[in-house]
């Protein structure tokens, strides 16, 4: 069997590619490490010298200003040099292969790649390539690959849940929407189940549910009301605009009617429920503004925590 490419020979985290298969201790260590980083933004000098002199390449084959920015801020608060590369189009259509691009940047003494790619598994390919070519001092952070994983988003979601709920072992968490295409959902599901969350639900129409998603340890609901009942945490997924009307859904309006989170539907959850969203939100499609801006929403704190979590991930893997 192939060794988990995220771990080095000593079993330490050297790349972050997915939360799947990461031991609970490793996840908890990342969350614990993120906690003191959260206070650095309150200082006179909002950075620490941990990654001073390290070159972090933001390698974005798929545009995402927001995610790229959060990684950039995190790297800069660790005093790293950040180089942004928006390649934008798929590696093959550009002529140069993905691994050629990587080899070139390694030759420029890159220390870390933050990779966003439209194809599931692209960061694994890079990490495996680096491992095989003994470039073990170069680290890869997956910033979202296809439908597969978005592990730092999963970690910041876990951090947010732990911040407000402390424990995972008594929670009911619902993830609502386009699970089929969602790397956010997959990463969060792995994280929640690893940390012992007793009930993780996915809610959505069957066209947006992947086959055998129950095998990931979740309960599947097609009815929003039944799925929200008794929930401690509700995570709304973004519905991509190209999927709002077509073969998966008839219209955004019908989607909102059945699966949009309104105050009425939220009232079915526990009174102390928290509402999360990975952003950017489609108000009036998956979430009502009254909920998004309401007192149960922790959507903006998620963004703040995201920086600390990404600082923690980078500083842990760069040291291994």
């Amino acid at each position: 069997m192939i060794r988990n490419p995220q771990l080095n020979a000593n079993g330490e985290l050297t790349h972050l590619l997915t939360l799947e298969g990461l031991p609970a201790d490793v996840i908890r260590h990342i969350l614990d490490t993120a906690e003191p980083f959260a206070s650095i933004s309150e200082r006179e000098v909002k950075k620490v010298p941990l990654l001073r002199g390290k070159a972090v390449f933001n390698l974005f084959f798929e545009n995402s200003t927001r995610t790229r920015t959060t990684f950039e801020i995190a790297a800069k608060r660790l005093s790293a040099d950040v180089i942004n590369l928006n390649i934008g189009v798929s590696s093959t259509s550009k002529g140069e292969t993905l691994l050629d691009t990587v080899d070139n940047l390694v030759a420029m003494n890159a220390d870390m790649f933050v990779v966003r790619h439209a194809q599931s598994g692209a960061p694994h390919l890079i990490a495996t390539h680096l491992n095989q070519h003994r470039q073990t001092h170069v680290h890869v952070v997956n910033a979202g690959d296809g439908r597969h994983a978005h592990p730092t988003q999963g970690l910041l979601d876990l951090y947010t849940i732990r911040h407000y709920k402390r424990e995972f072992t008594n929670l009911t968490v619902a993830i609502v929407g386009d699970v089929l295409h969602s790397r956010v959902a997959r990463s969060l599901i792995h994280g929640l189940t690893t940390l012992g969350t007793p009930e993780v639900r996915v809610i959505g129409p069957r066209t947006l549910m992947p086959t055998r998603v129950d095998a990931m340890g979740v309960r599947v609901f097609t009815d929003m009301s039944a799925g929200l009942a008794g929930c401690d945490v509700v995570v709304m997924l973004r519905l991509q605009s190209e999927r709002m009307k077509g073969t998966l859904l008839p219209s955004a309006g019908e989607y909102f009617k059945h699966y949009g989170l309104t105050p009425d539907k939220l009232a079915l959850a526990r009174p102390d429920v928290i509402v999360m969203h990975p952003g950017p939100m489609n108000r009036g499609v998956e979430i009502d503004s009254a909920v998004a801006d309401g007192e149960r929403s922790v959507i903006l704190p998620q963004v703040t925590f995201g920086i600390a979590v990404r600082m923690a991930v980078m500083s842990i893997i760069a040291g291994n």
């Binding site: 993905l98 598994g121 597969h148 997959r186 095998a215």
Partner: protein, 431 residues
């Protein structure tokens, strides 16, 4: 040249022979089994003690990549690989560039292969011009040029009206049509089996229904046309069940499975291993078990390698972008033996799937060691185990998910038309 192969375990599924016996070869043909013909004088003797003498293997799907993809492989490299794997005859699908849709291309391929004096090459002609799915090819001309059947390779044929007419036309002239059952709509964009693994890895998926819907369509059209159809690369349990029922119904069908599908499942994609990107996709362990059962009970007639050499650059890409296919000519025998050992299938029955059965499918005067037949022989050591690695493969394509696996069965000699064409052992000295 008169050759005597002594002391080997001679297995010929076509004749029901399985015993230690000498094989006598003269003028490129089998001249006797057991005792020498009258007046025999051995020019060259091969001691096959501890080895198995089998008819040369016949691979009903091996891509040689010529014309068009010489950077992935050439006739030279792949026919060398065939000989190293004990394969003496192979059928190649029409998905070359340009596709095998006109007689000149077929003749050129046959001619090039003959010059190399290696494994016999039997082209499968394209069913439609350019495999574009719009115009029928000149099947009569192509058959005269050497095509043994007609197929659409892995290219989707969405137009059922055209499929019906292609089958009617082929039936008119008695040609067999080879089809890979896969609905083009349900498989669009898919790269992995629609199951737990694709869901976990977030890979676009192909449901089992893509195969069963295509099978239902094909069966319906066979009932309309009575054309003989060979079904290529079955992959699902439901598909096996449908083929079993269709055979019971008496439909004129045969079917094959790729040898790697007998061993791997969706689980073997691991962390996006592009070497496990194949078409049809590796399906669930339950499907794999059904394929094995179908092979044992005769629902599946033939095992092939579906040999597809792919260059490293085309594999070192994210899973979905990586080119499909595995190299297989040199692994056909070992992986068939491994399946047979695991399922407790006897050697004669196992070898039948890669000798007699594909010979019947292709209509070849071969696949047997019967007297008077061409002396295409595979001599292998069934007890020798070896570890698959890139350097051990003669094929230009090193793309296989089996690297690192220890497999049984080492080919020692491959004889084609009575000539020792290659193998591991040095040529034997004159007796």
């Amino acid at each position: 040249m008169k050759i005597e192969i002594k002391n080997g375990r001679l297995i010929d599924p076509a004749q029901g022979i399985d015993r230690v016996a000498s094989l006598f070869i003269a003028a490129g043909k089998i001249s006797a089994i057991g005792t020498a013909p009258p007046g025999w004088q051995t020019h060259r003797a091969i001691d096959a003690r501890g080895l198995v003498l089998s008819p040369g293997l016949i691979d009903c799907s091996a891509r040689l990549r010529e014309p068009g993809f010489e950077y992935k492989a050439t006739l030279e490299s792949e026919l060398e690989a065939a000989v190293a794997g004990g394969v003496t005859s192979l059928a190649c699908p029409p998905d070359t560039d340009p596709p095998l849709d006109e007689p000149g291309l077929v003749e050129m391929l046959k001619h090039r292969a003959r010059l190399l004096n290696r494994a016999h090459v039997y082209p499968i002609g394209a069913l439609t011009v350019g495999l574009a799915g719009t115009t029928l090819t000149e099947m009569g001309e192509l058959a005269e040029a050497g095509c043994v059947a007609f197929s659409h390779a892995d290219v989707p044929l969405a137009d059922t009206q055209l499929l019906l007419r292609a089958m009617q036309y082929a039936a008119t002239f008695g040609h067999r049509v080879w089809l890979r059952p896969q609905d083009p709509h349900l498989s669009k964009g898919g790269v992995a089996h629609d199951g737990e693994v694709a869901t976990r890895l977030g890979l676009p998926a192909i449901p089992a229904a893509a195969e069963t819907i295509a099978l239902a369509t094909i069966f319906t059209l066979i009932r309309e046309t009575s054309v003989s159809v060979h079904l290529c690369r079955l992959s699902t349990a439901e598909g096996v069940a449908m083929v079993r029922a269709a055979k019971q119904e008496g439909l004129p069908i045969t079917c094959d499975v790729a040898v790697h599908h007998l061993h791997l499942s969706e689980v073997d994609i691991g962390w996006f291993d592009a070497q496990a990107h194949v078409m049809p996709p590796f399906r669930s362990p339950r499907d794999r078990a059904a394929l094995r059962a179908g092979l044992t009970d005769g629902t599946i007639d033939v095992i092939c390698s579906d040999h597809t050499p792919v260059d490293d650059d085309s594999k070192q890409l994210p899973f979905a972008e990586a080119e499909v296919g595995v190299t297989g000519l040199e692994l056909l025998l070992p992986l068939t033996l491994k399946w047979a050992a695991e399922e407790r299938v006897g050697l004669p029955a196992a070898l039948a799937k890669i000798t007699r059965a594909p010979a019947a499918l292709l209509g070849l005067h071969g696949g047997t060691l019967a007297i008077g037949h061409p002396a295409d022989v595979c001599i292998f050591d069934p007890a020798a185990h070896w570890v698959v690695d890139r350097s051990s493969l003669k094929s230009q394509g090193k793309n296989t998910p089996f690297v690192g696996l220890e497999v049984p069965g080492r080919v020692k000699y491959t004889l084609i038309d009575g000539v020792v064409a290659g193998g591991l052992a040095p040529l034997p000295a004159n007796a």
